[in-house]
Amino acid sequence: MRYVNHEAVVKKMNKRLIVNGIFKAIFLAATLFALLVLGVLFYRIISQGVGYLTPEFFQNFGSRVPEKAGIKAALVGSIWLMCVVAPVSIILGVGTAIYLEEYATKNKLNNFIRMNISNLAGVPSVVFGLLGLTIFVRALALGNSVLAAGFTMSLLILPVIIVGSQEAIRAVPQDVREASYGMGATKWQTIINIVLPSAIPGIITGAILALSRAVGETAPLVVIGIPVIVHFLPDNLLSQFTALPMQIYDWAKRPQEAFQYVSSAGILVLMIFLLLMNSVAIFIRNKFQKRY
């Protein structure tokens, strides 16, 4: 007796193909919905904001008059913020990931640490704001400075960078590590010559995505007490400053309608800032991939 009845298979084939088609349509609709929302968002922001994107917008400080309001302080402030966040979070994050993946033995304590780092990535950003307020602003008396905000943001994105780097390091095949150890290389020689070159594209992608999150994050800045109207540029790490999302938030909540357009222009600047960061990430990634 045969178990597969080929005639029945042919009969039922139409139904199976229809079900297949239905699911394809559902998934396509889900994708289109996301694209549609994104499209509407872009359209609204560009149509409202592009008129305010004048050279003066980049040269003026904040103002009560919409026509005179500019983004100079916030843009420069965000760049300063990134100059603190990028080195601090990448050095600490990649270092932690290397320790956990390459040096730490697989015991219960280390598994506990690994698990909790993943959990930390899910902690709401406002909680990190409170942490920053308590430790950096008050206990270490850094005030609401670039440095305090930078450290807070670094803590916020640290778990994301650690987890991303761990995954990139874990993706390096074990057999090339063995080849290196087999020739008498030390752990560090293996890490620096074999593991990191292969893992760096993944690490950088993860780090830049995390930094993008830090650029756009508002809640911790609000909690730390970053001012919104600043009429000077930061000149050292302990200067007061403001950042793009704070400025946008302030404009968006103002009653005058014109400020809604200014806010849209601010969002455009923020998005261009993020796109630039992502293109840098892609550029670095491609450059490294070519070499290895």
Partner: protein, 267 residues
């Protein structure tokens, strides 16, 4: 070495000078699994020693113990001793890096680094501190010639080693191993991922390397063991069943289990 062996008496001195590895009562556990049981083996200089046996018999574990690569598995415990050139490799003050510089290894699957052919071969010398470009150039050429692949790759040393075929990659790995000028070469089923022609080339290469190196090779291919080795050890369930000259093992084995295995009755 002469000074060290003198006190052991003249009879033993003759033997001792040509013994590379002397394994004494070696036991090894992966967690609770007793993988190697009371292994006693003496491996001689400038010979090819083949280790055969069915899957899971401990042959790969044994060869990885010889350069302590097995310790990359965190749950490994060992007892007994392995004397490499009369020094116990398990001694606390014997660094694994030092041991692995003298004992090179070729792995089951070709595992070149994702770097150029040149950088693959120069990797070992570089990590041991050789920076002079001229010296490195010479080492690279000598090693590639030694692995019988120089003619095939001499015009494209800067291309990625991944662009080579599997058989070529394995010979690159052998060349990479030769570049640190080891004393012993351990080979863990080096041809199991290769096609017959590449296998033949690697086997011929092993015959040539035998002049200058002591080679220990794990293989599941009994014909290969018969073709290339001087001595053969038959492993079963973590024990050495029989260890003798290869032609003795394959013609008149003492143990029934050896005979059953080599005649294909199990394994």
């Amino acid at each position: 070495m002469m000074v060290q062996t003198l006190e052991k008496g003249t009879a033993k001195q003759m033997v001792a000078s040509s013994i590379v590895y002397d394994t004494q009562k070696l036991n090894l556990w992966y967690g609770n699994h007793h993988a190697l049981k009371n292994i006693d083996l003496q491996i001689k200089e400038n010979e090819v020693t083949a280790i055969i046996g069915p899957s899971g018999c401990g042959k790969s574990t044994y060869i990885k113990t010889l350069n302590r690569m097995v310790e990359l598995v965190p749950t490994v415990k060992t007892s007994g001793a392995i004397l490499y050139r009369e020094r116990n490799i398990f001694d606390a003050n014997y660094g694994v890096e030092e041991l692995r510089t003298k004992v090179g290894m070729v792995f089951q699957k070709p595992n070149p680094f994702p770097k150029s052919i040149y950088d693959n071969i120069a990797y070992g010398p570089r990590i041991h501190g050789i920076k002079n470009k001229k010296v490195l150039d010479e080492i690279v050429e000598k090693s590639l010639r030694g692995a019988a692949i120089w003619e095939e790759v001499k015009d494209r040393l800067t291309t990625n080693a991944y662009s080579l075929s599997g058989g070529q990659q394995q010979r690159i790995c052998i060349a990479r191993c030769l570049a640190i000028e080891p004393d012993v070469i351990l080979m863990d089923e080096p041809t199991s991922a290769l096609d017959p022609i590449s296998t033949l080339k690697v086997e011929e290469l092993i015959q040539e390397l035998k002049q200058d190196y002591s080679i220990i090779i794990v293989t599941h291919n009994m014909q290969q063991a018969a073709r290339i080795s001087d001595k053969t050890a038959f492993f079963l369930n973590g024990e050495v069943v029989e260890f003798d000259k290869t032609d003795v093992i394959f013609s008149t084995p003492e143990d029934n289990r050896t005979e059953d295995y080599i005649s294909g009755r199990f394994g």
